[in-house]
């Protein structure tokens, strides 16, 4: 049983309005049965400094990633994690986080790999909630563990691997990293740590659309018409396109994946989570430097 959708006018413009909730909507529904609020941040301690009352924390690094293999947790681990957070298969999950919902969108994308049906983002995320002076607490959420079924992760629909990207070349690619990473001046986001890529540049033909362009200054998503202007008019995406988005480790591109899939309604969008840390170190994959998208290599 899912919690009623947010009927906000702004959301009605999007392809899937049911994927967003406003801070007003959430504030009125905290504690409602069937709803679990999840905070997912870049900083693993931010939740502990104060969070939305009742919200549980899910950390991308220590809880969603496998500790050994570079991959996400498997069905059993995911079931144990969600059950321990009081989330059942039919629970409505609202995720929010820091930095324009960067990591919240990543968590939502991982939930999608496991087919969790009703998972939404809080438009504006943690920063808007705080900017509006809404309540925060450091009290740990009281969680009653529940059973979450073991569901096999499905990597075929919204996830792309390197081989998939090689086969995809010639179809739209979106590079959501900073302009400096795209052109090849550097391999990491400005002010971020070196995460190891041996070569710099971008995948040939990829369009550069830094992920945060989809966010307004208050952290909410830009309106439908603003997003259409970026992704359709400027980049040239058209209905029916298959799209792959990538960044450095797949987190920023989850945000763009969310925008393209749920806000603009593109139905075949995949996130390449190997992203530049894989592509930029792989042997003999094509790379283009400079500001231009570049040409496909002859095959």
């Amino acid at each position: 049983m899912s919690v009623a959708f947010d009927p906000a006018e702004k959301f009605a413009e999007y392809a899937h309005p049911e994927r967003l909730v406003s801070t007003d909507w959430l504030a009125e529904r905290l504690g409602e049965p069937g709803l679990v609020v999840v905070e997912s941040d870049e900083d693993v301690l931010l939740y502990e400094t104060g969070h939305i009352p009742g919200a549980v924390k899910i950390d991308w690094h220590t809880e969603l990633n496998d500790p050994v293999v570079r991959d996400y947790v498997d069905g059993e681990q995911f079931a144990a994690l969600l059950g321990s957070k009081g989330i059942a298969r039919e629970t409505t999950v609202v995720i929010y986080g820091d930095k324009n919902n960067w990591w919240a969108a990543y968590a939502l994308w991982v939930f999608t790999l496991f087919g969790h049906e009703d998972v939404r983002l809080l438009d504006g995320g943690r920063d808007l909630w705080i900017a509006e002076g809404r309540e925060l607490t450091t009290a740990p959420a009281e969680v009653t563990p529940v059973e979450y079924p073991v569901v096999e992760r499905d990597d075929t629909v919204v996830r792309a691997f390197k081989e998939d990207v090689l086969a995809h070349l010639g179809k739209p690619l979106i590079d959501v990293r900073s302009p400096e990473e795209y052109s090849g001046e550097r391999t990491t986001a400005p002010a971020y740590p070196e995460e190891g890529a041996l070569r710099a540049g971008h995948i040939p033909t990829a369009a550069s659309v830094p992920w945060a362009r989809a966010a307004a200054s208050d952290g909410t998503f830009r309106s439908r018409s603003e997003l259409d202007a970026i992704y359709r008019d400027e980049v040239g995406l058209a209905d029916g396109d298959e799209v792959v988005a990538y960044c450095r480790i797949g987190e920023r591109s989850s945000h763009t994946w969310f925008v393209l899939t749920h806000l603009l309604g593109f139905e075949r969008v995949r996130n390449y989570d190997g992203s530049w840390t894989e592509w930029g170190s792989a042997v003999r994959v094509p790379i283009v430097t400079g500001e231009a998208r570049g040409e496909l290599p002859a095959r």
């Binding site: 870049e42 900083d43 693993v44 301690l45 931010l46 502990e48 400094t49 690094h61 220590t62 500790p67 820091d98 002010a191 971020y192 740590p193 070196e194 995460e195």
Partner: protein, 144 residues
């Protein structure tokens, strides 16, 4: 790691972390985060004197002074980055007042000895390793 060489305060911090369950280590790190001293006035108005640590995900700035052979360490990071503040605070509390040589002798892998890999992830701990490396370099430059 040669534990006998570890300065007392750093050894205490390590033992405190290791005595806790993994999830409680986060709480201790948060306490450190809250204890990071404010910058002295003379730096608050001169951010250009501070060195940014590029290895950290969040902006953290460091400044090292060596006076009469003793090291004084200042650091600042935003409230929105409590993990980074916690790392900086552990180092400020553990290194401030030591001799330059004592700071230079701290093992480079000290951050890995705190048992935080599981609690916050090895990648994040790397930010603290970067901080320690930059502190040592500044100490070496200022001592010279």
């Amino acid at each position: 790691m040669d534990t006998t060489a570890l300065p007392e305060r750093l050894a205490e911090t390590r033992d405190d972390f290791l005595a806790l369950e993994v999830k409680d280590r986060l709480q201790l790190l948060l306490e450190f985060s809250n204890e990071l001293p404010e910058l002295p006035e003379r730096y608050a108005d001169h951010p250009e004197l501070l060195e940014r640590v590029e290895e950290c995900q969040s902006p953290v700035y460091l400044f090292v002074e060596v006076e009469d052979g003793r090291v004084h360490l200042h650091a600042t990071a935003p409230r929105e980055s409590p993990t980074t503040r916690g790392f900086a605070s552990i180092l400020v509390q553990g290194l401030d007042g030591l001799t330059a040589q004592e700071v230079l002798d701290v093992p480079a892998d000290y951050p890995q000895s705190l048992g935080l890999g599981q609690a916050v992830s090895p990648l994040r701990v790397r930010g603290m390793t970067g901080m320690l490396g930059r502190i040592k370099r500044q100490v070496a430059e200022r001592r010279a």
